[in-house]
Symmetry: C2
Subunit: 373 residues, 2 copies
């Protein structure tokens, strides 16, 4: 196996782990900043390292459309192309095909769609998607899944769920015959239906993936339903493999999932909110464009080691956002990612010391407040 | 004097110098990256340090409109506000009043105009502009000057020139009574008229400023006329004070001016061109959006130590610009500033070793090519 996962300690269902990949170690639970097209918007690879990121998530769908997988492969793969030296996970594009692409047509063979960029026709198959991620040379590849919308009738979900299982089987076989440098994760589907989720998880486990993701969440469903999906699914997944909750979420959501035994997370929220001037702090959200911050000499968050907080004030960020200066978006992105990555470090420490329940109680207010953004 | 300037060595008229300011040393000849509103667009203060900048130029006109001088002063001055710890020079706003503001009315007392941001009325006076820069706490303040457009009749230029002299006298008196932490520079005006330029320089020297700028250039005049202005003016300025050519320019223009004895430069070109995908290299300009760079594995410039060149390729920059990704503008800005700052370092080394003529001959092609952007 090109991936090696070790659970160092547990606290209830929560796990403090270590995932070794061809491009380095991911200490888990971990948050993966999103660099859709190979970079987190506004950040050099060095700046992303600077806030403590240990792994970047990129997107096969977007990279396949631009610049094209062949270009990235010719440039030596995604690490060489993007300049990010640490581990990379690529999403398979399943979610994007069902949220961005147009004229989508699903058959047993795969999915045909039109690029949202220029309308050109593209075909994704379970085998092709695995092959493209192998060409990118990523550390963690994901199988192609069918991601039904929410809400959806059980019959619609079940059909997608069944096809996702068959696609996973084919993807696994392709990887078996010609593996990439890293590992391949399966994706549990099944909407908000407990039996579908549990069966999906068991079927994937039989296929023996290097890790297991919970997909089809963060698509608009209520928080309580998302929480249930995690609570149903996590216990079915093997203890010795990493578990990844896709596209989630606010710190409160991440905390909940960590307590159910989830190890990996990704979300566009910290970076996207940053570009809109919404800053995360332990004391709650800061809408930096608000007039109350015009003369506020405090850093965004006391004690934060990010490049913005160690040098400047809320007043300066307010000024940059009011003037539409690029630097505002860049500094805010650095801060929000630092906040998320420091939050994950706290969760790892609390889990390692068996104090996750205490930590949760001591920090419940701040997470509730952060969600309010 | 709060500023201390020392000429370490000369090569013809060119000077290798050292300007000590309250916030550190500026090795000259030096290029000052432009952080109009307190930041170079897209760069944290740390990133600006990272490419080797030793001084930042900000703009009093813009800061007076947003966030207002009182806000910056309340936040501890421009260094504390912006997080830039090195020396700062602020332009007096004369140029901007005459290029951006509307409903401009000039009287002997000063200039009344409307903000280009919200149309609110503003009044700049020679005394007020000096006082505002003192409040910002900058290392180098500039007198208010009147900057006539180009082309302009001699009578128009002469009137502005004469008023600029009287304004300089008043600014000098204000500074004498209540100096700021740094120094105050006078600005030579006089359009493209040799006698006006020489007389202006002599009159300013009598007022004994801490340094002398050549203003009213880079306003559309042909290169040959701008070169003549520098050639006429520099010899009239005292050898023991720094000389600053405002708003210039391409590397070739800077080289010409260094050889006439100019010490300080600023220009928006490297950063603005970067945001448009125009990259400077010693081998000539790179229009990175051009299809020829789609699969180019070379760094923007071989041997360049900037964050983009040490990690990524022209192909990656091409991809980021084609996709409109923020990171493209950020990486390109880092590269172009690194290019300018390394160019200045080369000029300092060539001057110090008395090899500026050799250096100029060996590098003439690249500068001509750079100009072609």
């Amino acid at each position: 196996m090109a991936l090696k996962f070790e659970v160092l300690s547990t606290d209830g269902a929560a796990r403090r782990g270590r995932l070794a990949t061809p491009h380095g170690i991911i200490e888990t639970p971990a948050f993966m900043p999103v660099g859709t097209l190979g970079s987190v918007k506004g950040l050099s690879p060095q700046a992303l390292e600077g806030v403590g990121a240990s792994v970047m998530l990129s997107n096969l769908y977007h990279l396949a459309l631009r610049p094209g997988i062949d270009v990235v492969e010719e440039l030596g793969g995604l690490h060489s192309f993007s300049g990010w030296k640490g581990p990379i996970l690529t999403d398979s594009g399943g979610f994007q095909v069902f949220s961005l692409a147009t004229l989508r047509k699903i058959t047993e063979g795969g999915v045909d769609f039109r690029s949202h960029v220029d309308g050109s026709p593209v075909r994704f198959t379970p085998e092709g998607v695995v092959g493209m991620q192998r060409s990118l040379g990523v550390d963690i590849a994901m199988v192609l899944d069918e991601c039904p919308p929410w809400p959806a009738r059980r019959a619609v979900v079940a059909e997608a769920w069944d096809r996702t299982r068959r696609w996973a089987d084919r993807a696994r076989g392709t990887w078996e015959r010609e593996p990439g440098p890293g590992g391949l994760f399966g994706i549990v589907q099944g909407g908000v239906f407990r039996d579908l989720r549990e069966t999906s998880a068991r079927q994937l486990v039989e296929l023996d993936f290097d890790g297991y993701a919970i997909g089809g969440v963060s698509v608009g469903e209520p928080q309580v339903e998302r929480y249930e999906v995690v609570e149903w699914t996590a216990p079915v997944l093997p203890e010795d493999k990493p578990r990844y909750l896709m596209g989630v979420g606010y710190p409160r959501d991440i905390l909940h999932a960590v307590r159910q035994g989830i190890d990996l997370f990704d979300c566009v929220l910290p970076a996207r909110n940053a570009r809109h001037g919404l800053l995360f702090t332990r004391q709650g959200p800061v809408k930096i464009k608000n007039a109350r911050y015009r003369r506020d000499p405090a850093p965004i968050e006391e004690g934060c080691p990010c490049p913005a907080c160690v040098r400047t004030s809320r007043a300066f960020l307010h000024h940059l956002f009011r003037c539409g200066e690029l630097t505002g978006a860049v500094l805010a992105t650095l801060h929000n990612l630092q906040h998320y990555l420091d939050f994950m470090r706290d969760l790892r420490q609390a889990t390692a010391s068996g104090r996750l329940t205490d930590w949760t109680e001591a920090n419940s207010l701040s997470n509730a407040a952060a969600e309010a953004t």
